[in-house]
C-alpha cells in the first residue's frame, strides 16, 4: 500500500493544493480537507516551517487539534490538544504522554506561494521549510 501511494504521490496531481502560505496564521493552526481526511496545518515562524498532522484528537474523539497551542517540550515541536492537553509531536505524530498513541502525519510542500498536502498514508516529510 505504502509504496503504491508513495509512487503515486511522486506524480503531480496527488498533492492537494490547500491555501496560500499567507493564509496560514503565524504560530497557530488551520484545518484543511484532503480527500476525506481532516488535516491540522501549523505554521511556526521561528523555524519558518509548516507542519501537518491529523486534526482528529484520539483522546477527546473530536476534530480539534488545529485549534491547539503549539510550542516545544524539551525541544520537541508539539501541539497541545485544546481539550485534554496531551502533546503530540508535529514531526512524528507521537503522543508524549502515552507511548501507545500516535496520530498520522501528512506530507507538506510549498510550491510557489501555495501550500500543498499529500495523502494520509503517503511517505514524505510531514513538515516543510519555507
Amino acid at each position: 500500500m505504502k509504496n503504491v501511494n508513495a509512487a503515486k504521490q511522486n506524480r503531480e496531481g496527488q498533492w492537494v493544493d490547500v491555501c496560500a502560505v499567507e493564509e496560514l496564521p503565524p504560530n497557530s493552526g488551520v484545518c484543511a480537507l484532503v480527500a476525506d481526511s481532516q488535516v491540522a496545518v501549523f505554521y511556526l515562524t521561528k523555524d519558518k516551517t509548516i507542519y501537518a498532522v491529523d486534526n482528529y484528537d484520539p483522546f477527546s474523539k473530536a476534530n480539534v487539534l488545529s485549534r491547539g497551542i503549539i510550542g516545544d517540550v524539551k525541544g520537541e515541536v508539539v501541539v497541545a490538544s485544546p481539550i485534554y492537553k496531551q502533546h503530540f509531536s508535529l514531526k512524528s505524530g507521537q503522543c508524549l504522554e502515552d507511548a501507545s498513541v500516535r496520530i498520522a502525519t501528512y506530507p507538506v510542500r510549498v510550491v510557489g506561494d501555495r501550500v500543498q498536502l499529500g495523502h494520509r498514508e503517503a511517505v514524505g516529510q510531514p513538515f516543510c521549510r519555507r
Binding site: 490547500v18 480539534v64 525541544g75 515541536v77
Partner: protein, 845 residues
C-alpha cells in the same frame, strides 16, 4: 469464539450498576447477557424513593437510559422472577417458565423489609417502604386515614415518617430502642434529633415494644405496647430493618449466614465458583451492607475480576451524612466510642440545636468516629481525618467548635495527607503513588502526569498535585522549581514585572529577551493574560492569537465534541424580555441547546466554529455583549433583587452589581474572577462565596474578599465595613490590580490569599493603608484597562480577516462531519460514543 452466558438475577440498583459497568468494559463481548427483573419496571433509584412523594415519577427515578439494554444487546425479562437455580445443570428457571443455562451467575437480589412477627402484623393497612408499589399502596391508604405510625426509628423509619407527614397525616414514630437512629448516632445526638423532629410535629415514642395489633376503638388499628400503653392509628408502616433475599441461594445449597445473607469472599464469589453475589443480598465477613455504595463496589469488583484483574472487595466505610426532615445528621466510624480507651469531645448548643461529638483514640492523635446533628459542615474534613488516620491537631475539638473569629478553620495541607489519600479521583492515584513516581525521578508536573496519569482527566486535582509535588520535593531537599515552565526561568509574578517595566508588547519579544525555546501551552496563555492585563490589546491580533488557550482561541467555550457554547453578558443578572427574545431567536435559528447557568446567565450550546461570527452578529445587533465566559477574566456579578423589590433589602444590590460588572468586564486576571452583591445580610446572592462580595448594610456596604465556590470552597474574609460606594470601588480596583500583579498562574484569589505571607492583615495594610505606596499606581492601571475595554466579539465580526479564523476548513466551506447531535428532552445534545457507532456519519469530501 463462542460466547459464554452470564445471567444476572435482580435488576435493582446494584444489578443495574453491574450491567452498566460490564457494558463499558473490554470483556463485554465475551458474554451473552440475560437478566431477570422481578419488579414490573427496570432498575430505579431506591435511595431517592421518597422523591416519588414530592412529584417525581417512576420514569424520573429510573436508572436506565432509555434503549440502554437494547443497545448493548442485553436481554431483560421484566416482571419475571427467577424461582430456581440448578447448580448441576447450571440453569436458572423463572416464574414464567423460562429456563436458561449459565456459565456465570450473578445474584443481585437485594433485601426485603423485615416485619416483626407481632400478632396482627398482617392486617390490612400494615405496609412497608421499599418499592414504588409500596409507595402507591401508602398513598392509597393515606386517602382515608388521619393518623399514621411508623414502627422503627432508624434511618429509613424517619424517612418513612417524613413521607407520612407530607401526606398530611398525624405522624408517630415507634421505636423499640431507647433512642432514634440507635445504630448510627449516640445518645446525645439522638436526643437532639428527637427534639428537632418533634418540633416538626412528629411524635416520637422510644423504648416501646409493640406486643399486639388489633381493632381500634376510634381508628382502624390499636397498637398495644409492653408497658401497657396504647396507640390508635389508621396506617402502620414497618421499617424495622432489612433482611437479605437469599431464598434462591439457600434452596440451591449455597452457603448462607446464620442470620441470612449469601456468603461471599473478597472476589464476591459465593461457595460456588461460578456464582457471584453482590449488593444487599451478600454477606461479606459476616456483614450485610445496607448502603448502595458498597454494593456498587462489589459490582465493580466482579467486572474487574471477569476482566482478569486482581481487584478485591475489602469492606466499605459505613459513614453517612443525610438530611432527615431538613435536619442534617452525620455519623462517622466508631460513633459509639466502642474502641477501648476512646475518649470523646462533645459540643452542644441548645439555642441553635447543634450537637457535635468527636471520638478520638486514647493518645488523642487519631479520629475514630464522630456524630453531627443540626449541622454537618465538618463531615468531609472529619471523614478525611478518620479514613486516612491523619494526626489530629493539638486541640482536636477545634475541628468542631465554631470559628468565631471568622477564620476558615482547619483545612488539610498536602503534608497532612497520608500515603493512601486519593489525590486524583479520575484515575484513582494515591499520594503514595505520586511519591513513588517522584522517587523514581519525576521532578516536574509533566513527568508526573505522564507517569501516573494523575491530573489528565478532569484536571480538577491539578492544584493539589502541584502542592504535593512541591512539598515532596522540598522534603527531599530538592529545590522547588518555581519557574513557570521550561521556557522561562521566572515566576508569573516576575514575568508580569518584566512586561510592565520593559514595556514588552508581545510574546515573541518576551521570549527572545528573557526566555528560550518556542514556548508552550503553559507559558503562552499565561503571557497572553499578562499582556492583556497590562496593555489590553485585542486578544486575536496576529501576535496574540496563537497564545490563546482553548476557549479564548475562539472567544467561546469549547465543548466535548469540538462545538462551542455562547454566554452573552447579562450584567447583574438583569435581563429584558427583548434580550431574552433575541437570545431565544438565535437559539432557535441555529438549533442550540439552551440552559440557565449556575451564575445567572443563559448559555447556548452546540454552535459550530464557523457559526460563531454569524450568531454573534445577531446577538450584538440585539444589544448584547460578550460575556467572557471563555476567558480568565471577570465572569459575572451576581445580584439579588435588592431593596427595589424585596421587603428586606436595605440597598439597591442590582444597581451596584450592574455598575460593577460594567466597570470590570473584560478584565483579564491570573484566573477567572467572580463577584456578587446582596441587598441585605440574608445574602441571597451568595457574595461570601465570591472573589469579591458586597453586602448592603444600614450604613453602606460591607466588602468581602477571596471567597470561592468550586472544588475547595472558601468562605470570603470580611475586608472592610460600611463603605460608601466610592471607597468601595476604590478598594476593589486596588484589590484586583494587586492580585493580578502578584498571583501565580491559575491561582484563584482564595488560594492566593492562603499563600499570601501576612494574610488578611497584610492585604488590608496594602489596600487600605497603602503600606507599599502603590495604591495610586494600581488605581491608574485599572483606569487604563477600563478605558480601553472593547467587546471582543464586536471587534471580531467587524473585521473580515478575523472572521476567517472561524472557518472549520481553510479550503472548504463544509462543516465538520464528525459533529452529530441527537434529541433529548426536546433539545439537541452531542451523541455519545456508543451512539455514534449506530448513527451512520456521512463522510464529506
Amino acid at each position: 469464539m463462542t460466547k459464554q452466558t452470564l445471567v444476572v438475577i435482580g435488576n435493582g440498583m446494584v444489578g443495574h450498576h453491574f450491567l452498566e459497568t460490564l457494558a463499558g468494559s473490554d470483556v463485554r463481548d465475551r458474554y451473552e447477557i440475560v437478566t431477570f427483573c422481578e419488579e414490573p419496571r427496570l432498575a430505579y433509584d431506591r435511595v431517592h424513593l421518597s422523591a416519588y412523594f414530592s412529584g417525581k415519577t417512576a420514569a424520573d427515578l429510573s436508572l436506565v437510559q432509555s434503549g440502554f439494554y437494547e443497545q448493548h444487546g442485553i436481554t431483560v425479562h421484566v416482571g419475571d422472577k427467577a424461582v430456581a437455580i440448578d447448580r448441576d445443570r447450571r440453569t436458572v428457571t423463572s416464574e414464567k417458565g423460562i429456563e436458561i443455562g449459565y456459565d456465570r451467575l450473578v445474584l443481585a437480589t437485594g433485601s426485603y423489609p423485615f416485619v416483626p412477627p407481632i400478632p396482627g402484623h398482617e392486617r390490612k393497612g400494615c405496609l412497608v417502604y421499599r418499592t414504588i408499589e409500596d409507595l402507591e399502596q401508602i398513598v392509597a391508604a393515606a386517602q382515608t386515614a388521619t393518623i399514621g405510625a411508623v414502627v422503627g426509628g432508624g434511618l429509613l423509619g424517619l424517612e418513612a415518617a417524613k413521607a407520612l407527614k407530607d401526606l398530611g397525616l398525624d405522624t408517630h414514630v415507634v421505636e423499640f430502642a431507647p433512642r432514634l437512629m440507635a445504630v448510627q448516632i449516640d445518645e446525645g445526638g439522638g436526643a437532639m434529633l428527637r427534639h428537632k423532629i418533634e418540633a416538626l410535629g412528629v411524635q416520637v415514642h422510644t423504648g416501646k415494644n409493640t406486643t399486639n395489633i388489633g381493632d381500634g376503638d376510634e381508628r382502624r388499628h390499636k397498637m398495644q405496647f409492653a408497658d401497657g400503653e396504647e396507640l390508635e392509628t389508621d396506617i402502620i408502616l414497618f421499617s424495622a430493618g432489612i433482611r437479605p433475599r437469599d431464598e434462591l441461594a439457600r434452596a440451591a445449597g449455597l452457603e448462607t449466614g446464620p442470620r441470612g445473607g449469601i456468603v461471599i469472599d473478597n472476589q464476591c464469589r459465593t461457595s460456588d465458583d461460578a456464582i457471584h453475589a453482590i449488593g444487599e443480598c451478600a454477606l461479606w465477613n459476616e456483614r450485610i451492607f445496607g448502603l448502595v455504595a458498597p454494593g456498587y463496589q462489589m459490582a465493580r469488583t466482579v467486572v474487574e475480576r471477569l476482566a482478569g484483574k486482581e481487584s478485591q472487595f475489602t469492606g466499605a466505610d459505613m459513614s453517612t451524612k443525610l438530611k432527615l426532615m431538613g435536619v442534617d445528621v452525620a455519623s462517622i466510624g466508631d460513633a459509639h466510642a466502642r474502641t477501648p480507651g476512646a475518649r470523646c469531645y462533645t459540643y452542644q448548643n441548645e439555642p441553635r440545636e447543634l450537637y457535635k461529638k468527636m471520638v478520638v483514640s486514647a493518645d488523642g492523635k487519631q479520629l475514630l468516629g464522630a456524630v453531627l446533628v443540626g449541622d454537618a459542615a465538618e463531615y468531609d474534613t472529619l471523614l478525611q481525618y478518620c479514613l486516612n488516620g491523619i494526626e489530629l491537631p493539638i486541640d482536636p475539638d477545634s475541628l468542631i467548635l465554631p470559628q468565631r473569629d471568622g477564620s476558615a478553620g482547619f483545612g488539610l495541607g498536602p503534608d497532612a495527607l497520608p500515603d493512601s489519600a486519593q489525590i486524583c479521583s479520575c484515575y484513582s492515584v494515591s499520594k503514595g503513588r505520586i511519591c513513588e513516581a517522584i522517587d523514581a525521578g519525576c521532578s516536574d508536573l509533566f513527568a508526573l502526569k505522564a507517569e501516573t496519569s494523575a491530573s489528565t482527566g478532569c484536571g480538577g486535582c491539578a492544584a493539589l498535585l502541584k502542592s504535593v509535588l512541591d512539598s515532596e520535593l522540598a522534603k527531599r531537599g530538592l529545590e522547588v522549581n518555581t519557574d513557570i515552565c521550561e521556557h522561562f526561568p521566572y515566576t508569573r509574578q516576575d514575568l508580569y514585572h518584566l512586561v510592565r517595566v520593559n514595556d514588552i508588547r508581545s510574546f515573541d519579544e518576551l521570549i527572545e529577551q528573557h526566555g528560550r525555546g518556542l514556548g508552550c501551552d503553559i507559558c503562552k496563555p499565561a503571557v497572553a493574560s499578562i499582556l492583556a492585563a497590562c496593555w489590553n490589546d485585542y486578544v486575536l491580533n496576529d501576535e496574540h492569537a496563537g497564545l490563546q488557550d482553548t476557549n479564548d482561541h475562539a472567544l467561546a467555550n469549547m465543548q466535548k465534541n469540538g462545538t462551542y457554547s455562547i454566554v452573552p453578558r447579562v450584567p447583574g443578572g438583569e435581563i429584558t424580555p427583548d434580550q431574552m427574545i433575541a437570545m431565544a431567536e438565535v437559539a432557535k435559528k441555529y438549533n442550540l441547546y439552551t440552559k440557565i447557568t449556575g451564575a445567572q446567565r443563559i448559555d447556548l450550546f452546540g454552535a459550530r466554529l464557523e457559526q460563531l461570527p454569524d450568531i454573534w452578529k445577531e446577538l450584538i445587533d440585539a444589544g448584547l455583549e460578550s460575556g467572557h465566559a471563555y476567558a480568565k477574566a471577570l465572569r459575572t456579578v451576581k445580584s439579588c433583587v435588592g431593596s427595589t423589590w424585596c421587603r428586606y433589602g436595605v440597598d439597591d444590590s442590582v444597581g451596584l452589581a450592574i455598575e460593577l460588572e460594567n466597570r470590570y468586564k473584560g478584565l483579564r486576571a491570573p484566573h477567572k474572577l467572580k463577584m456578587a452583591v446582596s441587598g441585605c445580610t440574608r445574602e441571597c446572592a451568595e457574595a461570601q462565596g465570591k472573589d469579591v462580595g458586597v453586602i448592603a448594610t444600614e450604613n453602606g456596604w460591607n466588602l468581602y474578599v477571596c471567597g470561592n465556590g468550586g472544588m475547595k470552597p472558601r468562605h470570603a474574609d470580611l475586608f472592610a465595613t460600611d463603605l460608601d460606594r466610592e471607597t468601595l470601588i476604590r478598594y476593589i480596583d486596588r484589590f484586583f490590580m494587586f492580585y493580578i500583579k502578584t498571583a501565580d498562574r491559575l491561582q484563584r484569589t482564595s488560594v492566593w490569599m492562603e499563600n499570601l505571607e501576612g494574610g488578611l492583615d497584610y492585604l488590608k495594610s496594602v489596600i487600605i493603608d497603602d503600606r507599599l505606596g502603590i495604591c495610586a499606581e494600581l488605581e491608574q492601571q485599572m483606569a487604563a484597562i477600563i478605558g480601553t475595554y472593547q467587546c471582543e466579539w464586536k471587534t471580531t465580526i467587524s473585521d473580515e480577516s478575523k472572521r476567517k479564523r472561524f472557518r472549520h476548513f481553510i479550503n472548504s466551506d463544509l462543516p465538520d462531519s464528525n459533529i452529530v447531535f441527537v434529541d433529548e428532552r426536546g433539545q439537541i445534545r452531542p451523541t455519545r460514543e456508543e451512539e455514534r457507532k449506530h448513527i451512520r456519519v456521512a463522510v464529506v469530501g
